[in-house]
Symmetry: C3
Subunit: 348 residues, 3 copies
């Protein structure tokens, strides 16, 4: 299948702690990329392929702020310019590799793989819950063998929880109410739903420390911030304010059928208690792993189809379909083709 992801978009290329004194090779949007940290602390991203004989630069070594190919020792500076060929005095004309704009906002390192000139026109989305006081967060990275839009759609329609994770839902609620509203902009989609009052599920009580018995109102919100970022919020409203837990998903396609998932779990209460953070992390990571396993099965099923087949849609797909349409419009704009209407065939 041809890529269904836009290039003119900031994606998470890595987390800050992944980038150290060894070059990191990673395939992003179908392209081999090497990331490394120069002695200045700056993160450098460039094509992971020596201009000479295609050996991955990530298999080489760093020498100050240069990266040195492990095959013939050819060296590049942080601008991708070839600056040394050991077997001769001069550097051949035109010997360089493409570099990619990078913006580090820990814990995420954002990368721009689209039109070089267009990077400055956009900025990576803000992720205040990962940096601001009053929040604690941690995360993990997953490699999922499914198209990135399958992941977006999955998390934009949380009604799957009753078939997949029913034990985690608040007692007494046996299905999620309809979405209250779906807001759509040029690049984003978001929705909110209010849940009827219900006592706490076990994991909620353990995490928040709230008394188990009383009934609480809850809000569930989903944000397709961009093709690169999804945020899901689960808020328990109390007189003392909202107890919020967020799943922040950086979805970065490796290829049309593989996605790097940069998962962060954030919460705005008991932020100094490591045990609470660890509890939430394991709780959500476990769900994410089951989600990923299911989506990998769907991806294989779609791959076995000779051609994309249109699935039926239900009301709960409203936000997911809008997100798919946003992504498709971005892809179409890049390719110069008119945007197709969103179809429900999830791999499309």
């Amino acid at each position: 299948m041809s890529p269904n992801y836009p290039y003119n978009c900031w994606y998470v290329g890595a987390t800050s702690d992944e980038i150290g004194s060894q070059p990191l090779g990673r395939r992003l949007l179908g392209r081999p990329v090497v990331l490394y940290r120069a002695p200045s602390g700056e993160v450098v991203a460039m094509e992971d392929r020596c201009a000479h004989r295609a050996y991955p630069l990530s298999a080489g070594r760093l020498d100050g702020d240069r990266i040195v190919c492990g095959y013939h020792g050819i060296a590049y500076d942080t601008q991708g310019q070839c600056v040394h060929v050991p077997s001769q005095e001069n550097v051949p004309v035109g010997a360089r590799v493409r570099t990619y704009p990078v913006i580090e906002r820990a814990p995420f390192v954002w990368i721009w793989l689209g039109q070089p000139g267009a990077a400055a026109l956009r900025t990576p989305p803000a992720t205040p819950w990962l940096v601001e006081p009053g929040w604690a967060s941690q995360g993990e990275m997953l490699h999922v063998e499914a198209n990135y839009l399958l992941l977006h759609e999955h998390y934009l329609d949380l009604t799957n929880v009753y078939a997949m994770h029913a034990a985690n839902m608040p007692p007494g609620i046996d299905r999620l109410p309809s979405l209250d509203e779906v807001e759509v902009s040029e690049m984003s989609v978001s929705y909110t739903r209010a849940l009827p009052p219900a006592p706490l599920a076990d994991w909620e009580a353990e995490a928040t420390g709230l008394p188990h018995g009383p009934e609480y109102h809850r809000r569930e919100q989903g944000f397709f911030v961009s093709p690169a970022l999804h945020v899901q919020k689960w808020a328990i409203d109390t007189d003392a304010g909202a107890f919020e837990q967020l799943r922040i998903h950086g979805f970065t396609p490796e290829s049309p059928t593989m996605t790097h998932v940069f998962l962060r779990i954030a919460h705005n209460y008991q932020t100094d208690r490591a045990l609470v953070s660890a509890h939430l992390r394991h709780f959500f990571l476990d769900m994410t792993r089951r989600d990923a396993a299911l989506l990998e099965v769907v991806q294989r099923q779609l791959a076995e189809d000779g051609e994309p087949r249109r699935g039926i849609n239900v009301k709960a797909d409203r936000a997911g379909l809008r997100a798919r349409r946003v992504a498709q419009a971005m892809v179409a704009e890049e390719s110069g083709r008119p945007a197709l209407r969103a179809v429900a065939t999830a791999g499309g």
Copy 2:
């Protein structure tokens, strides 16, 4: 390669004992199929793919006579009609999956994956040796990475036994005589050959309990009953009647290069002695495994050819070539194309 098997034919989809309280997912003629047994005992077969987001229904669960998708909990009745979407009150118009006609004649569950209207015009072939008194039978299922016609041809030309299984042949006979006759009808091919008198091979003596020394006449018969069913009979004639052992092969393509083999071994003597049945079962199963391993090598060789190559034919191929022609005519009729002359390139 494009499929070389007809769809308008009853195939063995499963054995009765495979279908219980858990849905069974299986790829048949290139299509994902889920099979389950409703509380009434009836076997239900339908497309193994939720109409909503393509998740396999076989990964879900049964709820009475309904099958419930493991992704969003969408439920279908035995007619494939969607009858419940948990996230909304009504079922979307047109939400259904295709069902397939099924006829259970234990131990086989036959399935029709062709034109829906045409199922009633044909019936699964009779398999009296598996059900009638005077016969004992047992079986096993194999998954063979070879085209189903390679299997048919293999068993329709038993002259390979002298290269592959010479130790199993009656002493004193060093090659199989020519076929006495080959009968061909619209959908079937059969042949008979008579063997010269010879003493018993060890396995024959052990199975029948006949005295080892005397010479016996034997008949070897092969039946291409349909593209879905092959029967091979080995009869030892005595004054007390014929001691017959049959190999019944349900050949059901999973894909053009994979075949489900539903093997049953039947015999019409000592039918109450489990040891005899077990002996024959292991004896033939062992041969079948060696046959399968060889055909998988042939299939890989054919797959490595850029294009089909015509092999030479020998006289012993007579029945196999006719069977190939029958299958090709059925495929051509379905596709509206004129039947091609059979070529010997086995993968074609």
Copy 3:
């Protein structure tokens, strides 16, 4: 990718010690080949595929100078002529498999897979260091997942040693000097470079037994003898003559992305000391394994490119580019297409 190797060329098909009383099956230039030794000692090579049903003859057995298929027992003589079909009296007209001309010059068995008539017009290249007195040699076979031209280019530009194997270089030399000359003929390319005087590296001292301290002149020479054979010579000049060690590489494509490497290590000193031979063998084999691992990474990188990309060239590529051009001209001549100019995209 389509093959970039010529067929009208003698290639190493096997080593003499591989061919004994069991048929040897091997894919050469994309074709299945079976090799065996007839009772006369003659090596026979033919298509590894029975003319009847495509089963590999190498899975069968030898019967005198005949090879017998393991499927139906069909036998072929050393000319590839079918001489026996067990199930019938006569052999079908036209039943034969293609044979290939073979010339054994131990330790190599050369095979011709090109136009049958053209074999007699060429001879396999001479390999005197493997047969003549005054030389000792041994070898090993490797199976490398890379195009054969990547291997040629790798060994025709030894400047990679400073990035890959720097510890093996003579002390005090920190880069290889430029090539003194590159000679090109219709089918071959060779070069020489002289190294400045330097003391011995450890492996040189161990192998030659020369005193460690003095400085020696060295010559490094590479020979692209044909697309099938590369020879690399490392000579240490002394008053007592040149201490030479050679790497002889038979490169035989299995497919466009796989190469059989028939490696022989030869030396012209201390030829009666097995320890010296073993030392050199392990030393060069270890390097070859690292070379192979690197080239397999390059091959995968090239395979992931949608289309071939042109890499930049450096001066050290001079011999490798000429060799690529020789091979391309031979391929073009066979296909009747005009030769394309060599491009540096190594997989091309």
